[in-house]
Amino acid sequence: MRHRYWWGQGILLPVLTILFISCNKTEQQETMPPVPENIAFVKPAGFPEPAYRFTDNPVTTDGFALGKVLFYDGALSRDGTISCASCHIQANAFTHHGHDVSHGIDDRLGVRNSPSIQNLAWSTTFFWDGGVHDLDLQPIVPIENPVEMDEKLGNVIKRLQANTRYQQLFQKAFGSPDINSARMLKALSQFMLMLVSANSRYDRYLQGRETFTDSEKNGLAVFQQKCASCHQPPLFTDNSFRNNGVAPRMYGADSGRYVITLAGEDMYRFKVPSLRNVALTAPYMHDGRFGSLESVMNHYDNNFFDSPTLDPVFRNGFALTETDKRDLTAFLRTLSDKEFITDRRFEPPPGFIPRD
């Protein structure tokens, strides 16, 4: 699926906006809560201190608004067809649901599965191999990747500089119409930092506002015993790199973290992914090899590929009973955050035209 956000020379958008607003007025008033005016990053109760340096880039309403437009704009790709949102779709917790590996420009395929974009303020590295150490530097990768957006960052900046609407948005966000890479990247970060998921049934259960079934309760207990050492609550990742025994492919095996560090101990290690919203983000693992949580459960039932870097916890008979699997799956489903995937603040800006 590709999403094109036509914005052209600044005339189309205002027109579309007006159309959109007038078309949606009634519906909006009846069923939708008003879109909040003031955007601010709020650390959910029980979450650790963020890793992102907010002092270098405080989130503002206008910075967020600019970041959102950039996120949904095909102008960041070579031919205008691919936006960040093409592969990071809100309804799927900002993953590319249904694609094992991501699907980019000219229908070219990547080699890795797109992870969900959520709770990035707490991430210490980005990508499955952790090759990027700063969220601000992250968007350069998809923009310049030949199988994703296939454009040069410099060309994107030039295109934005020539667009009067962007000049206005940059003016609002940063106090002057100057458009440069640092500002563009920081605006994108502001949008992505706001994508906080912390209101799943699990969270409300912890707050005593929700009840769990016996199966979910047992799933949580098994999870705490067998999974939480890596998928550590509340983020459901400890940000470490581990080899969980996913078998390397015979051809074109992905060495994971090793690609970045060239250290033998990092061979086949991948970043522990967060499991928040995991029921919405199939397929699973770095290459999207497992289509369902059931397959993931079967993997964790002693189906580990042995190699020198296989994590020690999987070495001595790590197995799951059928009940464990069923209950774990039930528990993982409680991590879905409906508010997050329907939050109107994160919706495409008016004028966004989805295209399949």
């Binding site: 270098d56 210490t124 150490h133 700063d134 923009i143 040069k152 410099g154 900046i157 440069n180 250290a263």
Partner: protein, 268 residues
């Protein structure tokens, strides 16, 4: 005829290096220093694309790209005073394809008679981890650094040598040496290779770079592109036509440590 020219040249050179300037005494006096980077291939001028060179492995090759970062400049006087160029303006990208990149003028250098230059090849880890808004000009991934930046393994490419060779085992007979990696260690993470290298060069023939408010000095460096391949490890374009994020990159970095000399200094 030739002898006469040599003689005149010798006299001129001798007079050039004779220093009759009064020593700098005013600590607030400053002047201008220009760094010139002249790219070479062995004893010859580097000519991109057409000129055939031979590396230490005896392989014939042509060079189509030669570019590198030098940074963190320090100038040292005969009595050991060190002037460190302000960090924010101490990153230079030199590319053979861009003639203007050969010259870098430094203003407000304290008056003094400098005899030694220290600098780094590459971009240090502190700067590599710095907020993106502190990485402008030669370090901006959208402009100056657009051809010298790895997005997927965040960091600058410190040196690039590309070209073609009949000996290359690459399908298109090309070779590409891209050396980067600043040591990693961000967020207390693991360390990667660190291919930044320190260089210390002494101005030859007891020369000095004389900086006064009314005098400027130009330090003329030679950078020998072939030294990326020739040195403590002689790189073969047949055995390793492409080296990027690879253990061998550290050997090329050891080689490029020996790539620079100061050929001479002009004092004006």
């Amino acid at each position: 005829m030739k002898n006469y020219i040599l003689l005149i040249a010798a006299v001129l050179l001798a007079s050039c290096s004779k220093d009759t300037t009064a020593p700098a005494t005013d600590p607030s006096e400053t002047g201008t220093m220009t760094l010139e980077f002249d790219n070479r291939a062995g004893s010859d001028d580097l000519i991109l694309g057409v000129q055939v060179y031979t590396n230490a492995q005896g392989e014939k090759l042509t060079i189509t790209k030669f570019a590198y970062y030098v940074s963190n400049f320090r100038f040292i006087t005969a009595n050991g005073n060190v002037y460190t160029v302000p960090q924010d303006s101490s990153y230079f990208l030199i590319s053979e394809a861009d003639k203007a990149s050969a010259f870098h003028t430094l203003k407000n250098v304290p008056a003094g008679d400098y005899v030694q230059v220290k600098f780094m090849i590459g971009v240090d880890s502190t700067r590599s981890l710095m907020d993106i808004s502190k990485r402008t000009g030669a370090l901006d991934p959208a402009t100056g650094a657009s051809d010298m930046y790895w997005g997927w393994n965040s960091g600058y490419i410190f040196a690039k040598l590309e070209g073609s060779s009949p000996s290359s085992t690459d399908r298109q007979k090309l070779f590409r040496y891209h050396v980067g990696l600043f040591g990693g260690g961000f967020n207390n993470g693991v360390k990667t290779l660190n291919n930044t290298r320190e260089v210390t060069l002494t101005i030859p023939n007891n020369g000095k770079a004389i900086i006064r408010k009314d005098r400027r000095a130009q330090v003329h460096f030679f950078a020998d592109a072939l030294k990326m391949l020739n040195g403590t490890t002689n790189i073969s374009v047949a055995a390793n036509p492409n080296v990027m994020v690879d253990a061998l990159s550290a050997k090329i970095a050891d080689n490029y440590t020996q790539m620079f000399i100061i050929d001479h200094v002009h004092n004006e």
